[in-house]
Amino acid sequence: MLALKGTAIKRKSPLQKEEALAGILFALPSLSGFALFFVIPFFMSLYYCFTEGIGGTRFVGFRNFESLLKSESFLLAAKNTLIFNAVAVPLIMVLSLGFAMLLNTGIKGLPFYRSCFILPLVVPVASVILVWQILFNEHGALSQLFQLFGLPAVDWINSQWSVAVLVLLYTWKNCGYNMVLFLAGLNSIPREYYEAARIDGAGFWTCFTRITLPFLAPTGFFVLVLSFVNSLKVFRESYQLAGNYPDMHIYMLQNFMNNNFTNLNYQRLSSAAFLMFAIISLMVLVLFRLESRLGRDLE
């Protein structure tokens, strides 16, 4: 902002003006679509947050947010979303880093294994969801395995275990993306550091905590943000697995918002959407800040 003011006072040279004009023209198609489908309607829905009645005729202040925070279905959805994130994100981080490290040990067949990990990324969940239903049905393969050991059969998709099934689906789908990012990060660490550390008698654990982790921090932050963002997009998988009305343990914020849309409760939906927008933006901002501070500490 300061820089912009400076240039305004100094007056731009014709060449700079021409470049600015060209920049705006090149970005124009994208900018107009962005404004049309995201920015302008965003402010319109912000207006919904503070009004009441069809079409938003009466101003009600923060009452929509109050009733939202008191609504049981919203609280349940928020709780479930939180639980899903708390389980899925750390799990996928550890798994993708672990497998990236295994792949980075100079083994043969790296391209083959890598392909296996990335393939689920392009495979549409809808095309393989049948397999999940066969494995996790109450009388499905996993329950039969359980009964073999004298344990009771479980209806995995329609019980508290549905979270686990969804976490599995999410991990299956997204592990490859994260792994490729981690692999690139691992590759950028100079080998000499490890060799020098070995000579000084450092073991695997010391190398891991003193060399791998610090150097991988920027990648790690990005993967963290990405995993978090992706886990909020898990509605797709949840819909394929359990339809519009899933078990109450995987009733997420996205389900809550979808249902309110179907019930034409735009005020409530907009308030929830705005709250989510604010929380995600804040979290991303904090993570990026944290990362740049950590980056400075390393240098």
Binding site: V122, A126, S127, Q133, W172
Partner: protein, 297 residues
């Protein structure tokens, strides 16, 4: 002594390698399992499938087998009947397949085009509020669909597009992901090339078309593949913006036929994922490069 120690270390190393191979192979097998399962089952006769998974369809009174859902991999008789049924006896399948195509292809082409132009502006040209706008782009890129649901619905209603495929296509074209990804590539292109062209009197359009774009071929391919894979699998948008079920893409149709028409479901699933599989086999290296670039700031 030294020899023995060396030999032991080598042995330990080799054992470690072996464990790594076993772990990786097990993980790969688990990741591929759903695919392999679908392929195997797609070559079964409809009758065999119906019998094995009767429980999924809800009428389990056929035989004692039907009380369970076991893993069933090897067909009793290899048959193409499911594929034949899906392709020639189920017109709705082809309609839905076509719906997926006419939604996905325009999004891939449109988003790549619009994003390439904008990415050039964001990466190489200076204009007011450039970085602030780009930050907004990133934030919007990260939002789940439901957050922008109402805004998009309002716009589409005003434009009278609800219920047409354009309602799904247009917001897809203007997704900010493409701009983000292509900018990551373009910002790495050294400025010297365009400076030299500028001295020779080339305008921005000329520089964009003959210097920047040719160097971004791989990037464009990466973007096209990622956008294709994402939108081929689209669920939320058609569910809300397209009321007519006959306009829905395969992704939604499939989750419904899984139970009602189990006899062809496996072949439908395989036919549905074939396009993405081809794209993957053809462009895997671009895909990997695209993923890596998305992680560099």
């Amino acid at each position: 002594m030294i020899h023995a120690a060396g030999g032991q270390a080598a042995l330990k190393k080799r054992a470690g390698k072996g464990i790594i191979y076993i772990l990786l192979t097990l993980a790969s097998a688990a990741l591929l399992f759903p695919l392999v399962y679908m392929v195997c089952n797609s070559f079964m006769e409809s009758r065999e499938v119906m019998k094995a998974y009767a429980l999924l369809t809800g009428n389990s009174g056929i035989s004692s087998d039907a009380k369970r859902l076991s893993i069933h991999l090897i067909p009793e008789r290899v048959s193409l009947i499911q594929y034949y049924q899906a392709l020639f006896r189920k017109p709705t399948f082809l309609v839905m397949f076509w719906n997926s195509v006419i939604v996905t292809v325009p999004i891939v082409v449109g988003q790549t085009l619009v994003s390439a132009l904008a990415a050039y502006a964001f990466a190489k040209l200076r204009f007011p509020f450039r970085d602030q706008i780009f930050f907004l782009y990133i934030i919007v890129m990260m939002m789940p669909f439901q957050v922008t649901l109402v805004p998009q619905y309002i716009t589409l209603r005003k434009l009278d597009l609800l219920g047409s495929h354009l309602a799904v296509i247009l917001p897809g074209i203007f997704s900010t992901f493409g701009v983000f990804l292509l900018r990551q590539f373009m910002i790495r292109i050294p400025d010297e090339y365009s400076e030299a062209a500028k001295i020779d009197g080339a305008g921005h359009l000329r520089i964009f078309a003959s210097i920047i774009l040719p160097q971004c071929k791989g990037a464009l391919a990466s973007l096209a593949i990622l956008v294709f894979a994402d939108n081929w699998n689209m669920v939320e948008q058609p569910l809300i913006f397209l009321n007519n079920e006959l306009m829905h893409p395969l992704s939604i149709f499939l989750s419904r036929i899984n139970t009602s028409e189990l006899g062809v479901a496996f072949a439908c699933g395989i036919l549905y994922l074939l396009p993405t599989l081809f794209v993957f086999l053809y462009g895997e290296s671009y895909l990997i490069e695209g993923i890596q670039r998305s992680g560099i700031k």
